[in-house]
Assembly symmetry: C2
Homo-oligomer: 369 residues x 2
């Protein structure tokens, strides 16, 4: 079953059923505009990552501002976007089962579908599935520029894989996927710039090696909200895959990426117990807000700390006036990490100021397959 929608258009914020995932639409639209302007000025394409928002609605808002398409991590997310009218989708990840590959092959009837590979075994598997569907899939070689997750080594191993893709009759060699994940959360701008500088150099060498094989990398993609300005400036990357900039979160805010984005995503939560002075309990714990990158902050109330999350309870400590939180009062929580917080909800509540302007589904919530 789906959660019931926690609000209806026209309601005031105080009437929203909590916990609820709310968007400050003004702040979000500002973020969308700023990133679109940045990419236009930098002369790079934006293929925003839908693993953050999981919504064809927000995808179309990005595309209307110039994004060329969307990234996803999973075939099930690709399905939700394709069924929602997104026409160009990259699975920026390896897909290894023939059942999942068949679903991607089927989607090529609706949208352009690309995916990544980092092994010859999987390239051959993709070719077999594409052949059986009499279709063509675009495959990018993922190279490892981050140290030890997915991706083949840049240089010769990546080039060999590119050649193998290009020689597969039902595959199109799409280019390179080169995402420096660890750099996103480095705390200083200098650390992030250095990490991306190294990744860009290894990526450029690989592009050159592939060119020697008379193959072009139509896409050289990567980047996230923490680093995209460095990839854009590198002259190597031509597609940026940032996702979190739409919403931001407490962890990205600590890194202060530029241009500045505003916090636009919140979890609205209600004080359910205030049995003694100075402490209070919210109706949102870690089932309702992700804590993997730290506890949430309280929006616009610097006198309150969210000090502990259990499954369905959030414990608050009031540093100033100990009696200033009443049972039934609502607070906006800033998630420590936006992506997995969004993935706990079936509905977005879009706020224009304190008024509910729209309610729409987190359509790819839970689509991990």
């Amino acid at each position: 079953m789906l959660q019931r929608p926690p609000a209806e258009p026209g309601m005031s914020e105080a009437d929203i059923d909590t916990p609820a995932l709310i968007i400050d639409l003004d702040a979000m639209e500002g973020n969308l505009d700023r990133m679109a302007a940045f990419c236009r000025n930098a002369g790079v394409r934006l293929r925003a990552h839908a693993k953050t928002h999981k919504s064809p609605v927000i995808a179309h808002w990005q595309i209307a501002r110039g994004a060329i398409g969307q990234c996803v991590q999973k075939p099930a997310e690709a399905e939700v976007l394709a069924w929602g009218g997104v026409s160009d989708i990259l699975v920026s990840n390896e897909v290894v089962s023939s059942r999942k590959l068949a679903r991607l092959a089927a989607l090529t009837r609706m949208s352009k579908i690309s995916l990544c590979a980092d092994s010859a075994i999987v390239v051959d598997q993709i070719e077999a599935v594409a052949e059986s569907f009499a279709t063509r899939l675009t495959v990018l070689v993922e190279i490892d520029v981050s140290g030890g997750r997915c991706g083949v080594e840049p240089g010769e191993p990546a080039t060999a894989l590119a050649v193998r893709i290009a020689r597969s009759r039902h595959l199109v060699f799409g280019g390179l996927q080169s995402y420096q994940g660890r750099a996103q959360h480095l705390r200083t701008e200098e650390e992030r710039r250095d990490a991306i500088g190294q990744a860009a150099a290894r990526t450029a060498d690989t592009v050159a090696a592939i060119r020697k094989q008379k193959l072009e990398c139509a896409v050289v993609g990567g980047a996230g909200t923490g680093t995209f300005a460095h990839e854009a400036a590198s002259g190597v990357y031509n597609e940026l895959q940032a996702g979190s900039y739409v919403f931001m979160d407490a962890d990205y805010a600590r890194n202060r990426p530029a241009p500045d984005f505003e916090q636009s995503l919140f979890v609205l939560s209600t004080v359910m117990s205030a049995a003694r002075p100075g402490i209070a309990v919210l109706d949102c714990g870690h089932k309702g807000i992700a804590v993997d990158s730290g506890l949430p902050l309280i929006h616009a109330r610097q006198d309150i700390d969210y000090v502990g999350a259990s499954d369905e309870h959030g414990s608050l400590v009031l540093r100033s006036d100990p009696g200033s939180l009443a049972i039934g009062e609502t607070l906006r929580l800033i998630p420590g990490h936006c992506d997995p917080t969004v993935d706990r909800y079936d509905w977005y509540v879009g706020m224009r100021g304190k008024r509910v302007e729209c309610v729409f589904p987190v359509a790819a919530r839970g689509m991990m397959q």
Copy 2:
């Protein structure tokens, strides 16, 4: 949208689409039987907690073995159980909005509904809603025996609240909710026994104080999988609310509660990349398995460590044979924490050995309101 079911009855484990939430039915049934036998022998009632399993199917398996009903934390969970035929449901938590209370009042047409209160304000709110629905709600006083979450102080404040409930025309005073949450995860049996001993003493004093007001506590409820034997032995508690015993998890296993329960819940995950020897990457990160109580363990493969979770990737290190994990191979992960792991999935896949015996919904997935 819901996730599509990752398997169908009759399939083998190797054919399940991953990540998937799987139950070892033999192990789970053994756990259900052991807890039922324990409660029968101890002369206490079992009101198992559905915040773990979120499923009317599993609730009925518990009730068929003698459980008198179910606990939930949220009105939306109560709805899913009532609509699934569970006839006696306690919301073991405060409910503070009149919108949520109206939903509980409406459910009294289908099931017996109880809930908790820890303030006079909320008692009066519940009375007003019950009156407007011309129904009666059973209200327990939650006392704080754990130090600083929900609950009024035991003794006089709890007694005053009990009297207020009993004098409300549309409420029934149901007894005491006395859950020592912090004791569940203390590491030694002695620490847990001492903590429950203290909680039981304060609870007993409160029962006696309420009796002086000529009120009886029909229910004295609490306990979890880490401590229930101590509540049962106390002579104070008459209802146990354990939930996690059904599935167990890595954190509860570290505490070794007695009687011993088996791990019955797993996340099945596939190796999606193995680009260099000694490391590999799974298709399940913290969007697919909760990490708030520690990283998952690998079932039946002590030579492999799950060393890092990002959103959709799990990083493995192989301590023995560095080439022994192939792309496409599946592993069973033991969650660090069962409750929030279950809450990420729409479907259970019930396994009898290596064969899929049944597929059924996590019907109250995401029901946090």
